[in-house]
Amino acid sequence: MNNKQPVYLNLFKIKLPLPGIVSLLHRVTGVVLFLAIPFSIYLLQLSMHDKADFQRALELINHPLVLLFEVILFAALIYHFFAGLRFLLMDIDIGENKRPAELSSWMVLAATTLSTLIFLIMRVF
C-alpha cells in the first residue's frame, strides 16, 4: 500500500503558482478591508460632526501608529482594486491564458507596490 498519498491538504506544503497567490491575496485583503469598515465609519462620523472633531480626526489619522495602519489598509485596498480589475478583465476573456495570467499577476503586484510607495511618500512628507 502506498503510504505516501496525502490524507489531508497541508496548505503549507502546496506550492501555489503566482496567479493562485494573487487569488488568495485577493481573499485575504478582502477580509482585511471588511474588518476595517467600522473604523472608516467612525472616522467619517468624527470628521463630519463639528470643527473640533474634524481637527481631532485629522490628529488621529496623522498619529504615527494610525498612519502605519493606514498604509497597510491602503495597500490592501489598492491590491484588492488591481487584482479585482484583473478578474473583471478575465470575465470578459482578456488575459485568460497561462502566460497573460502570469504577466498580469506581476502587473498587479507592481502596481500595488508603486501605489503604496506613492501613498507613503504623500502621507509622510
Binding site: G30, P38, S47, M48, L88
Partner: protein, 106 residues
C-alpha cells in the same frame, strides 16, 4: 441570493466602488481639504447619494465575498452558520450606523 445574481451583483458593486474610489482619490489629491469644504461636500445631496450607494455596494460586496470565503474554508455546519450570522450582523450594524450618520441623527 445565489448563483448568477450574486456573481453579477459582486461585479456591478465592484465597478461602482472602483469608479467612486478613483474619483475620491483625484478629489482628495487636488483639493485643499478643511472642515467647511468637507462638511459642505458631505451635505450635498449628490455626494450623500453617492456615499449611500457606495455603502450599499460595500455591504453587498462584502457579504457575497465573505460568504464565499466562509463556505470554502469552514466546513462544520454549525460553525459555518455561526460565522455567516456574525458577518451578517456586523454588516447590518455598520449599514445602519452609516445611514444614521448621513441622516444626521448622530
Amino acid at each position: 441570493m445565489a448563483g448568477f445574481s450574486a456573481w453579477l451583483l459582486q461585479r456591478l458593486s465592484a465597478v461602482y466602488m472602483a469608479v467612486f474610489i478613483v474619483i475620491a482619490i483625484i478629489w482628495a489629491t487636488t483639493t485643499d481639504i478643511n472642515f467647511s469644504v468637507w462638511r459642505a461636500g458631505l451635505q450635498s445631496t449628490w455626494v450623500q447619494l453617492g456615499v449611500l450607494l457606495f455603502g450599499l455596494s460595500l455591504l453587498l460586496h462584502a457579504w457575497i465575498g465573505l460568504r464565499d470565503v466562509i463556505i470554502d474554508y469552514i466546513h462544520p455546519l454549525w460553525m459555518r452558520l455561526l460565522a455567516l450570522s456574525l458577518v451578517a450582523l456586523f454588516l447590518l450594524a455598520n449599514g445602519f450606523w452609516l445611514l444614521a450618520i448621513l441622516w444626521g441623527f448622530l
